[in-house]
């Protein structure tokens, strides 16, 4: 079943077309990697889907519901949660309180939200940090907390914007681990990453953007050998070893 359909999204900033008619589907229960060099338009696309930008053209359909141009809080209520490329913790709130804010979307009472948040903290391995102020966490834990916070809203689709950038290899492995457990829990995942090595092994399908356009889409093996992708990443002088 198609959970999210991105239908010809175009977003312009002045004369710059950050997204040009991008089109792809996200099947329920899969992990989709969205890759591309810096400035390819990955984050812009994220913002168009989650309502932070209104696309100039095209449609976003989530679970057969046209959510194009919906404000972020309604998109979230519909079942799409996201994290940010640069972490945005509620710095002066504790880790538990941060996650509770997410939990309050589905729970009116703070007590119920606290219970739900504790469950998410256990799942993400942050339970021991629950009473720390978010500002005092390490970068890896802040990113993990953002995932926990997003997860607490009870999403069906989780969109992670560079959840692994800037992490050490060990932390990256832990993050990958978490993503795989999320999928096992039934959450569909759309992953932005420009480090190919991380995305390749865990993604079912990969979508490659360059200069605002989709240049390739397919299973990881295919993408790794795709002429245009290699060009986009390494420049025109390099050719895939045959």
């Amino acid at each position: 079943m198609t959970l999210l359909r991105i239908g010809g999204i175009t977003k312009r900033f002045g004369g710059l077309e950050a997204n040009k008619g991008i089109e792809f589907d996200v099947e329920q229960g899969t992990i989709i990697g969205l890759i591309g060099p810096n400035g390819a338009g990955k984050t812009t696309l994220f913002n168009c889907v989650t309502g932070f930008y209104a696309p100039d053209d095209g449609k976003v359909v989530f679970d057969e519901l046209d959510i194009t141009g919906w404000p972020p809080h309604r998109v979230c209520r519909a079942g799409i949660a996201r994290t940010f490329q640069t972490v945005r913790p509620f710095a002066q709130m504790t880790v538990l309180e941060n996650v509770m804010v997410g939990g309050l979307l589905r729970h009116r009472q703070t007590a119920a939200s606290r219970t739900a948040a504790m469950e998410v903290l256990e799942f993400t391995g942050l339970a021991s940090r629950q009473s720390m102020f978010a500002k005092n966490l390490t970068i890896a834990d802040k990113k993990r907390m953002e995932v926990a916070r997003a997860l607490a809203t009870g999403p069906r689709l989780l969109m992670l914007d560079e959840a692994m950038a800037g992490l050490t290899p060990k932390e990256t492995q832990e993050a990958v681990d978490l993503i795989l457990r999320l999928r096992a829990r039934g959450v569909t995942i759309l992953l932005v990453e420009h480090v190919m090595e991380v995305v390749m092994p865990i993604s079912h399908r990969i979508v490659v953007l360059d200069y605002g356009q989709k240049i390739a889409e397919g299973p990881p093996q295919e993408i790794a050998n795709d002429e245009r992708v290699i060009q986009a990443y390494l420049g025109g002088r390099y050719r895939a070893p045959s």
Binding site: G51, P72, F90, A91, G102, L104, M132, F133, R149
Partner: protein
């Protein structure tokens, strides 16, 4: 590493509760210990401003939307109850909540355009709107114009909300109003709205991504804040029995309301109370000590105090107290 306390169910007599009871007792006993009209009047003003500071704090402190136009709600509250009384003969006891409701209603019209602006631009918009409202009332003859409105003197009674032989009833009414605002703030702190307010203050975009309808919640914070500020304005009108645009709608009132919360500690339950207990007597005593010639000197003292707070403890004096407490605990 910093740790916050998880709110536990209060024990029968925790130290915090004990301190609270001591303060409550002191508040109830104050007018019987300090019997001079000046002493009682001063404390009425302190309690009124503590209430106004806390009302501001709900919007400015917890939700992070700094308003420098709260005189609008204060003034509209004062004018609402006064005009209701003068034109329709409505008792101030109905005028008080009516003042809050009208202020809250006006706040929604103010909030709608202002909340499209962020940070400094929001602050500027609130200042400009307050100036416009003051100009409107100054030129509105039906509402007394620049001359203001005088409430007719009635026989003193609880029913008439006028007391002359003793300030005692005013004292207890202002104390009750403050208690109500503190109770509402306390309940908000632990509620969904309270969490959302703080999330909006910390990072509005992150809040939006977690399903928080930030405009609606800002409007809610504004409505609660304006309601109590309006009630405070109505109380002021009954206390002074004379209002004009300069006394209830001026910029300096907006500044004072904000300062009380900022100096005391924004986003805290007791900060504005602390702020009022420091700033109001301070301005009274500097005026007494320096006489009429030193008219602006209380403002100079304010200025110094704000600078000190901003440099050494931007979270306000309440946070300073917590820091000292933590230091003592570590010894």
């Amino acid at each position: 590493m910093e740790q916050t306390q998880v709110r536990r169910p209060p024990r029968a007599l925790s130290p915090q509760r004990l301190v609270l009871f001591v303060f409550m007792f002191a508040a109830l006993a104050y007018p019987w210990v300090f019997r001079l009209p000046f002493q009682r009047r001063l404390m009425v003003v302190v309690l009124l401003y503590a209430m106004l500071g806390q009302a501001w704090n709900i919007l400015g402190g917890y939700t992070g939307q700094v308003s420098l136009g709260h005189a609008v709600f204060f003034g509209i509250g004062a004018y609402t109850s006064t005009l209701l009384h003068l034109k329709l003969g409505v008792t101030p006891w109905i005028g008080l909540p009516a003042a809050g409701l009208v202020a809250a209603l006006v706040s929604q019209f103010v909030g709608y355009p202002c909340f499209r602006l962020k940070g400094h631009y929001f602050v500027i918009a609130t200042i400009v709107l307050a100036q416009i409202v003051q100009a409107l009332f100054t030129n509105w003859d039906w509402a007394g114009g620049a001359l203001g409105l005088r409430l007719p003197l009635l026989p003193e009674s609880l029913l008439n909300f006028q007391f002359f032989s003793t300030k005692l009833p005013y004292y207890y009414i202002s104390l009750a109003l403050l208690a109500i605002v503190l109770a509402v703030t306390y309940l908000l702190e632990g509620s969904k709205a309270g969490y959302y307010f703080r999330a909006i203050k910390e990072d509005p975009d992150a809040a939006r991504s977690l399903g928080v309808d930030i405009t609606s919640y800002k409007m809610l914070a504004m409505a609660i804040s304006a309601f109590f500020t309006g009630v405070g304005g109505a109380f002021y009108a009954q206390f002074v029995l004379y209002i004009d645009p300069e006394s209830v709608l001026a910029f300096k009132t907006s500044v004072l309301i904000m300062l009380i919360a900022v100096v005391g500690g924004i986003g805290t339950l007791w900060g504005p109370v602390l702020g009022a207990f420091i700033l109001i007597p301070l301005s009274e005593f500097t005026r007494v000590a320096l006489g009429g010639a030193g008219r602006a000197l209380d403002l100079v003292v304010y200025g110094i105090l704000i600078t000190l707070v901003a440099v050494f403890e931007p979270r306000g004096l309440w946070a300073l107290g917590e820091r000292i407490k933590a230091l003592v605990a570590r010894r």
